[in-house]
C-alpha cells in the first residue's frame, strides 16, 4: 500500500515529456470530453455504491433475523416483493414476508422484536455475488446462508440455503424485489447432513401447512442429498459481476492549463474508482468460483482462471491452465457430483488488494468446507492466498493456493479425528510439485500474508 503515492509518477513523467505540444484539441472539445468522462464516472461510482449498499441490505437481513427483528427484516423488501421459501411456495408483500420469517424463526407477531427463551435463529449471510444492471436501476445477488438453528435441550440444527435475489432502485432506495430462498438442508446436529435421506425437503414445511403461501412454486427442486444447482443469475466465464475497467496502460498527457489540471485530477480519480470497482469484481469472482465448486462444476470453475493460471490445493501439487485445473478440481469427485455428495466451499473474510495500475490483485480468503462422501460427513477449513489478473476489464484467477488448516470427520470433529492432506495424485498428476510443504492440523502454521500490516505498514513477522 505504501506504493500508492507513486502511482501518479508515471503519469507525471509522461506529462512532462509531452509538455504542452499535444494540445491539438480545442478547449471546447476538451471540456465536452471531460464532462462526458465525469458523467461516466458518476454512473460508475453509483454502480459500485450499489454493490456495497446491496451487501449492506443482505447482511442487515441476517442481523435482524438472528435476533427476532422480523419486521425490520421484512422492511428490506419492496411493498409487493415476493419471497419463495424452498418448495413451500411464494409469499407476496411485506406483511406476509414478516409473518413468514417470524414463523420460521420462532418469533411472535404480537410482541416487539425478540425470541423466546432457548430459541436459536442465527442465519449467517455469506459469499455475496452482486450484479448491478447496466442502467443502474436493478440488480441481482446470490448469497449463501449458513444457519445455526434450534431449541435449547430439544434440537440443534444446521441450516444450508442459497439465496437468489432481485433488487430494485425505488425512489433512490435499493430494496429486495424478489427473493428465491433455496433450502438445501436443515440437518440435525447429531449425525449432521450426512444422515439425511432423499426427499426430506420436497414436502411442505410445518410452517407452510399452517401458513399457506400465496402461490405455488413454478417447479419443485430436489434438495440435499440430491445435488441441485439453484439457477445462477450469472453465466459463462465473463459475467458482468467480474467486469471492471481495463488496466491503465499509459497515463494520458495533460496540458498545463486550468482544464489540464482538472483532466489530470479526473485521471487520478478515475483510476481510484476503477480500483474500488475491481475490489468488488474480485470479491464476486471468488464467490462465483466457490458456488461452482459447491456443485462439482469443474469446467465452469476452471474457466474462471487465466490461460496460465495455477491451482494448488494442500499438498496436491500445482495444476497449470484451465484444462489441467479442471482435472485437478475433479480429484474432489465426479463432475456434477453424485447423490449424497456435499461439497460446500464457504468463501469468507476476504482481504483484497488491487495494484496501483488496476492490473493485478491479491487476496486472502478464509474457507470452510462442509462435505459428505459415502455417507460420512466431513469438515474442512483453510486459507487461500490468491492472485488475480485484469484481462482487458475481465478479472481472472491467475494463481489459487489453498492452504489446508484442518480436515476432519464430522462425528468426532477435526480435533479427535483429523484427516491428513492427500499427496499428489498418481492418476491425475499435477504439472508441478507442491510449492510449499507443510502438514495440516494437528500441526498449525502461519500462512504467509500477501499484505503488510494494515496499520504499521510492515511485513508480517511470525510471532
Amino acid at each position: 500500500m505504501q506504493f500508492a503515492s507513486i502511482r501518479l509518477l508515471p503519469a507525471l513523467c509522461l506529462a512532462l515529456a509531452a509538455g504542452i505540444a499535444g494540445a491539438a484539441q480545442s478547449d471546447d472539445a476538451r471540456l465536452a470530453a471531460l464532462k462526458k468522462r465525469l458523467a461516466a464516472m458518476a454512473e460508475q461510482t453509483a454502480q459500485v455504491e450499489a454493490v456495497t449498499q446491496l451487501q449492506r441490505i443482505g447482511r442487515s437481513f441476517g442481523y435482524y433475523v438472528d435476533k427476532g427483528y422480523f419486521g425490520e427484516a421484512a422492511d428490506l423488501f419492496a411493498d409487493n416483493a415476493t419471497f419463495r421459501w424452498g418448495n413451500d411456495g411464494i409469499y407476496r408483500g411485506k406483511s406476509r414476508i414478516r409473518e413468514l420469517l417470524t414463523r420460521h424463526g420462532g418469533g411472535s407477531m404480537k410482541e416487539g422484536p425478540g425470541l423466546p427463551f432457548g430459541r436459536l435463529n442465527l442465519r449467517m449471510q455469506l459469499q455475496p455475488v452482486i450484479t448491478v444492471a447496466a442502467d443502474g436501476k436493478s440488480a441481482q445477488g446470490r448469497w449463501r446462508e449458513w444457519g445455526l438453528l434450534g431449541q435449547y435441550k430439544k434440537a440443534a440444527i444446521w441450516g444450508d440455503a442459497i439465496i437468489e435475489d432481485r433488487y430494485l432502485l425505488e425512489g433512490g432506495v435499493w430494496k429486495i424485489a424478489a427473493r428465491d430462498y433455496y433450502v438445501n438442508f436443515e440437518a440435525p446436529y447429531q449425525g449432521g447432513w450426512a444422515v439425511l435421506k432423499p426427499g426430506t425437503f420436497t414436502a411442505q414445511s410445518a410452517v407452510a401447512k399452517e401458513f399457506a403461501p400465496d402461490s405455488p412454486v413454478p417447479s419443485a427442486y430436489p434438495a440435499f442429498p440430491a445435488v441441485y444447482v439453484p439457477p445462477y443469475h450469472f453465466a459463462g466465464s465473463t459475467p458482468a459481476a467480474i467486469q471492471g475497467r481495463p488496466p491503465v496502460q499509459s497515463s494520458p498527457k495533460r496540458a498545463d492549463d486550468a482544464l489540464g489540471r482538472l483532466e489530470a485530477e479526473a485521471d487520478a480519480r478515475e483510476l481510484q474508482l476503477a480500483r474500488a470497482q475491481s475490489l468488488r469484481a474480485v470479491e464476486n469472482l471468488h464467490g462465483i468460483y466457490g458456488y461452482y465448486v459447491d456443485k462439482g462444476q469443474w469446467k465452469q470453475a476452471a474457466a474462471l482462471f487465466s490461460r496460465n493460471g495455477t491451482y494448488e490445493f494442500g499438498q496436491s501439487g500445482v495444476y497449470v491452465g484451465p484444462a489441467s485445473i479442471e482435472r485437478g478440481l475433479s480429484l474432489m469427485g465426479p463432475a456434477g457430483l453424485q447423490e449424497g455428495q456435499l461439497n460446500n466451499f464457504v468463501m469468507v473474510q476476504p482481504i483484497i488488494h488491487v495494484d496501483a495500475q488496476n492490473r493485478t490483485a491479491r487476496a486472502r480468503w478464509r474457507n470452510d468446507v462442509l462435505q459428505s462422501r459415502a455417507g460420512q460427513g466431513r469438515w474442512g477449513g483453510g486459507i487461500y492466498e490468491n492472485e488475480y489478473v485484469n484481462e482487458n476489464g475481465t478479472w481472472k484467477i491467475s494463481k489459487l493456493h489453498y492452504h489446508v488448516t484442518f480436515w476432519g470427520e464430522y462425528e468426532q470433529g477435526w480435533g479427535a479425528k483429523p484427516i491428513p492432506m492427500d499427496p499428489p495424485s498418481t492418476t491425475l498428476p499435477p504439472d508441478r510439485p507442491p510449492t510449499l510443504v507443510y502438514q495440516s492440523f494437528p500441526k498449525l502454521q502461519v500462512v504467509p500474508f500477501h499484505f503488510d500490516h494494515p496499520v504499521t505498514g510492515k511485513p508480517h513477522e511470525v510471532q
Partner: protein, 249 residues
Amino acid sequence: MATNKIASTVLARGLVLLLGLAGAGGAAAAPSAADIAAVEKELSALAPRIERLEDLHEVEIVQHAYGYYVDKAQWKSLADLFADDATLEIGGKGVFLGKQRVYQYMNEGMGAPGPRDGLLIDHQQFQCLPTILEDGVTARARCIAFVMSSGGWGHVYYENVYRKYDGKWKVQTLHGPFNMYSGYRQGWVDNVTVNTYPEKFAPWPDLPPTVVYLTYPSYYAEPFHYANPVTGKVAPPPSPRAGGEAFGR
C-alpha cells in the same frame, strides 16, 4: 493509505502547476471560469464518494486482519491494529484500556503468542457491515466472529468503532458481545457457556462490563449502530419479554 493519496494528489497538483507555469503564454483561449468551476464542482462531489468506497473496504480489512491474527495468536500484529487509547471488551470480561492492555488481554488471557499444535482457535470474520460516519474519520461496523476451535463453537457479534489516524484506520473500540458458545460433541442443544465474567480468567479488567447479559439460551440483542438501509429507521430495543418463555404467549 489516504494520507498517501492526499500526498500524491498534492504532488500531482504541484507538478501540473509547474508545467502550467513553464508553458504559460502558448495556450489558446481558455474555457470560461464558469465552465471550469462547474467541472471542478462535479469532481469535488465525486471525490468523497470514491474515498468512502475505499474507506468501507479498508475498515473491513482491519477487522478481517484481526481475525487472521487471532487464529494463530499473532498478538503483536493484533495489538498494532488498535489505537493507543483504544478499548477492548469481549463477552462479559469487562473493559481493557489502551493498546498495551489489549496485548496483555490476549497474551495472558488467551495464551502465549504463536500457534500451538493441536489447539485450534479460528476466529472467522463473517458478514461485516461497516458504516463510515459523516466526519469521514470515524467508522462503525457490526461483524460476526464464528469461532471454530478445539473447544467447539462460538458465535460472537462485534459492534466496533474505528478511527482514521494519518490515513490509517485503527480499532478504537472493540466490543464483542457473545451470542452462543457451545462444545463440539452435542453442539448448542446443551452444554453452552452463557458468558464470561471479570474473574473468569486473568488479567482483570480496567473497568467493569458496560453491559451485563446472558447469552444463549437466554436472549440479548446488541443495539444496531445503523439505521435500516431501506426505511432509515433505527431498530427499537427488543420486547422486555424476549428471552423468557412467556414471550409470544
